[in-house]
Symmetry: C2
Subunit: 282 residues, 2 copies
């Protein structure tokens, strides 16, 4: 009995300290989630991130809920094997369709980008909310449900913008065609007099200038990456899981060869990607 | 001895007849290869096609040669299990990187879209050849090698056009931005005074009008889908494997749910897709 008590007294702080030192696991279908990493690094500079981009099967946005859920489970499994204290689903499509299954399967906190984005959209504005995202995210109706569950009276207008991801990935964000394409996609939302626009895809912060040029200064843009980083910081603080000292370097993994990811990822992360390793999952 | 001879006399024609009645297997990463099916149906109306679109892992064009080869082997394996007499790789990226491995692995004729396209480009024109394709196809240098192996003196100019596939898939082929984007991609090829342009991606026939508007009437466009259908017809004829009567209905398989494939595939096939089944491969 005395021995057990000693074990308890000694082990609990050790276990907690060990947990604090674990990394935050982040995954996305490709480079998009690096905009979430950028915000996490800005908000939580002591933490270590372990990132997985499922580049062998990118994109998720045009694929079915069942396929996206299967891929998300495999990505999460890989991150859990690396030892993480928290899982961030840095992909709106996977957040929209796979979150319940991920929370049911893995015994650690799982944060998607969708709920933080929805809460930030409701927090200000007059409740005329536009949402832009991939075909998968918009077709799932998840933003609409998340927004309505917080503010049942909110008027929500959605538009799938399938060309935004390739435009961002190909470095055409500042090109005049990006603005033209944004103009076409956003016209119905402007006609509906939205006051807030949720960028419901982690690629879209790169197109912020083109989108801003179309919607004007009046419409508030909500970047779900920034909103997610704030919720992650709050959750770590509440659970007493924040790193109490500077942890190791960020680690980046991809499921295809890293060449393209390294080349275009820098624009998403806002910094060079020092080392990227290829792994096989699924 | 007499018995063996009888077996031989009886069995050989039976085997040949059986082979003639088998389908042509066709695969692509998604809907693009349906432009090849359209040409095959036009040239070989008696044949049955069994098509596989690897929509759970589309696109191949931004992925590495090793990953594309692995996916191509799995797609070919599935088609061979259905019983096919010939395999058509209706994807330029897979044709560019996976053909040797496919020919080594499967004991049946394998035709890619790249070599027929290259031969058709050399067959006319003055040898100033432009090639457009995905990042994967262009980076592989395969068209350049195929063209030079036929005509070592040919001047070849290549351009990756990564936005063409999403433009075609999203139904923006006739949009003014498609023409603007084509204008930017093709400017270096026009500056090089090409006389022939190979559409080195099975999606690109859908953008033919936008491309024609940019290159003008002088430049000859080579559609590798049409060139491939002619080579398939020739090969079946030479090997005495052509269907001698009308075979069954075309069969379409995909690796993700068929909704999107059915919706956008009709524009590629030039006809409605009656039945599309989902299968798991890999």
């Amino acid at each position: 009995m005395g021995r057990l008590l000693v074990s308890f007294v000694v082990c609990v702080p050790e276990r907690f300290d060990f947990m604090k030192q674990q990394a935050i696991g982040v995954f996305d279908s490709g480079v998009g989630g690096l905009t979430v990493c950028r915000e996490l690094i800005r908000s939580l500079p002591k933490e270590q991130l372990i990132y997985l981009g499922d580049t062998a099967r990118v994109p998720y946005g045009t694929k079915s809920p069942a396929t996206v859920t299967q891929y998300a489970l495999e990505a999460a499994e890989f991150l859990c094997q690396q030892g993480v204290k928290l899982l961030v689903v840095a992909c709106n499509t996977a957040s929209a369709v796979a979150l319940p299954k991920l929370r049911e399967t893995f015994k650690l906190p799982v944060i998607g980008v969708l709920e933080p984005g929805a809460r930030a959209a409701i927090a200000s504005g007059d409740g005329r909310i536009g949402v832009v995202g991939t075909e998968g995210t918009i077709n799932s109706g998840s933003y609409e449900r998340a927004l309505r569950s917080i503010a049942p009276e909110a008027a929500v207008f959605s538009a799938a913008c399938p060309l935004f991801v390739p435009l961002a990935e190909e470095g055409w964000a500042a090109h005049r065609v990006a603005r033209q394409i944004a103009g076409e996609y956003l016209a119905p939302l402007l006609a509906a007099r939205i006051d807030t626009l949720v960028l419901g895809c982690t690629h879209y912060p790169l197109l912020q200038d083109a989108i801003r040029a179309v919607v004007g200064a009046e419409v508030r843009l909500v970047d779900s990456a920034a909103a997610t980083a704030i919720e992650v910081a709050d959750l770590l603080e509440e659970a007493d899981l924040s790193a109490d000292r500077l942890l190791g370097a960020q680690r980046f993994f991809v499921t295809d060869v890293p060449t393209r990811f390294k080349r275009i990822g820098a624009g998403f992360l806002g910094a060079e990607l020092q080392s990227v390793e290829q792994v096989h999952i699924g």
